[in-house]
């Protein structure tokens, strides 16, 4: 398809300021349809603020943000609704509603937007839970009864509830053990292929970058230093990138085989 490489998100000259602290200044970014883009940067570099700006949780102090080809920078909450149905967000610790079971959590957006017959609704919600690799009996548990990794998967199930085209993941592998993190990477890869998702991934896990990202964007000094394939990014000579990709923790990640994928 010719539209396969069209930008699905376009951020231009984004500026974000907290008090006197400038987080983003002239940030430019394009996310192409169907790709997995990894955004990496040091702690406090503003990765999460960028994600929050794009999904509309933070109003940018300057610049413009286009999602699905439309400028959403100055839209009211009401005008944003139709866009919000088309993307899913997974927060760092799942952000599940603690008074609802996992199944009920997944049903929340489905009930809000669609009028489905009860058996189909149950079946669909359960399917999302199964898609994220959770066992069926986890569906009737409350978030407090789940481990951190399972909560993340449940958060992903809720993000996938409306079959979004665009998926935002905020540090999906943080706090997971290396095996759990690798499994989660694999899951994201599988789902992004099968469900034709575009994934915007905020991380500081180098393994994830090598394993699942089509392109990597490095956020430092308030802007995108470089956005390219990971092999090209690691050769960049910005000091932060040098420290990050050639530091002691990078060796293992670089050795990892990138998961093959059709793209």
């Amino acid at each position: 398809m010719s539209g396969e490489r069209d930008p699905i998100i376009r951020v231009r000259a984004l500026r974000n300021v907290f008090g006197t602290q400038v987080v983003h200044d002239g940030l430019e970014l394009e996310v192409r349809k169907g790709e997995v883009l990894g955004v990496i940067g040091g702690s406090g570099a503003g990765k999460s603020v960028l994600l929050r700006s794009i999904v509309g949780l933070k109003h940018p102090d300057g610049g413009s943000i286009e999602v699905f080809g439309e400028d959403v920078t100055h839209l009211s909450d009401e005008q944003r609704r139709p866009f919000e149905r088309r993307y899913g967000v997974m927060f760092q610790d799942g952000a599940l509603f603690s008074s609802l079971t996992v199944l009920e959590n997944v049903k929340v957006p489905l009930l809000e937007y669609y009028d489905l017959p009860q058996p189909l609704l149950d079946d669909l919600a359960l399917l999302k839970i199964r898609l994220t690799g959770l066992p069926t009996d986890a569906a009737h548990k409350y978030p407090a009864q789940l481990s951190g990794g399972m909560r993340k998967r449940a958060g992903l199930a809720r993000a996938l509830a409306l079959d979004p085209e665009l998926l935002f993941l905020d540090e999906p592998t943080s706090g997971l053990d290396p095996i759990g993190a690798a499994r989660f990477d694999e899951l994201i890869r599988t789902l992004s292929n099968a469900l034709h998702l575009t994934v915007f991934l905020v991380t500081h896990d180098l393994d994830s970058l090598y394993a699942i990202c089509d392109r990597v964007a490095v956020l430092a000094d308030g802007r995108m230093i470089v956005t390219d394939r990971v092999e090209a990014v690691e050769r960049h000579d910005h000091p932060w990138i040098r420290d990050c990709f050639r530091g002691p923790r990078a060796r293992g990640a670089r050795g990892a085989e990138p998961t093959p994928h059709p793209a």
Binding site: L103, L120, L124, L131, T136, A144, L162
Partner: protein
Amino acid sequence: MSAFSLEGGSVLAVRGPWTLAQAAALSAPLEELLLRTRPRALILQADQLSALDTAGALVILRALERAGVALQAVEYRGMRDADRALLELVAERREHEAAADAVEVGLRALVERTGAATLSIARQTRELLGFVGLVLVTLAQVLIGRRRLRLTATVHHMEQTGLDAVPIVALLTFLVGAVVAFLGATVLADFGASIFTVELVAYSFLREFGVLLTAILLAGRSGSAFTAQIGSMKAREELDAIRTLGLDAIELLVIPRLLALLVMLPALTFIAMLMGILGGGVVGVLVLDISPGMYLTRLNEMTEIRHFWVGMIKAPVFAFLVAIVGCLEGFKVEGSAESVGRHTTSSVVQAIFLVILFDALFAIFFMEIGL
């Protein structure tokens, strides 16, 4: 052109978008069609399928399942590879599904829940008594000097639970005092006995309302605060940190709060009694034409000091109940912020319940001994 049709008995042609938005409308008719025709094998003609998502795939799979068509017996025609992969992924993940567990209703569930509730009451009572014992032992150890008294913390809590509560306690009891006086005046005026309003206000505030209102207010204000403070510490593993540092959570957190309430609740009760009587007095002067001098004289002559002591002696008991319940509920918090909220509510309800229960027991006791 409808979204699907069965051609020649075995070719199911699907057209247009099959996504979440269409799922509700497509689900029932498709199932109905397949159930009616019951094809043994099926060819899925999908060259006009414009979009498929998990919901659409699920609708197709559910219909096939209900009609008893095995997915292996389905032949795809003109379906995009991506859509077919999605269909197969959904089918694969559905395979291991167990039926969703049904909620049990009926007599058995009723008996079960009654039993569980009874056991839970018994367990809670035992926990409360165990905690009381633990706190009393620690308190004794503090008194004989084997453990330290955390003076700074105690004074801090005295300020928070006592001094800061003075305005609300004073205002509230003043208002209730005025209300009781109005009530008395309304009833007693019929007998020409308005002057007895003085006794009514004095007796009720000295014996009951002063201490009861203060205890209930502090249960809502300080007992809940104790639960929330200790509970959020528990949720953030601070209590575990206290233990690993070789400190004692009871000594550090409970004793200062308990002592603060034991001192401040009687003090606030005293203020409450004064303000209640003052409120009654204001109504007496303004509405009932009882002069201030008259009010005070009658108060002095007709009210014995024993009524004051009957009220006052209950104050430390109520303080103990509110502090113990507040702290214990805090220790019961597990993990989440939601749990903090639940136990805070439970702490207030239990504390008020116990305060009123003990007040009733005291009333019977004082009546029996003729006080």
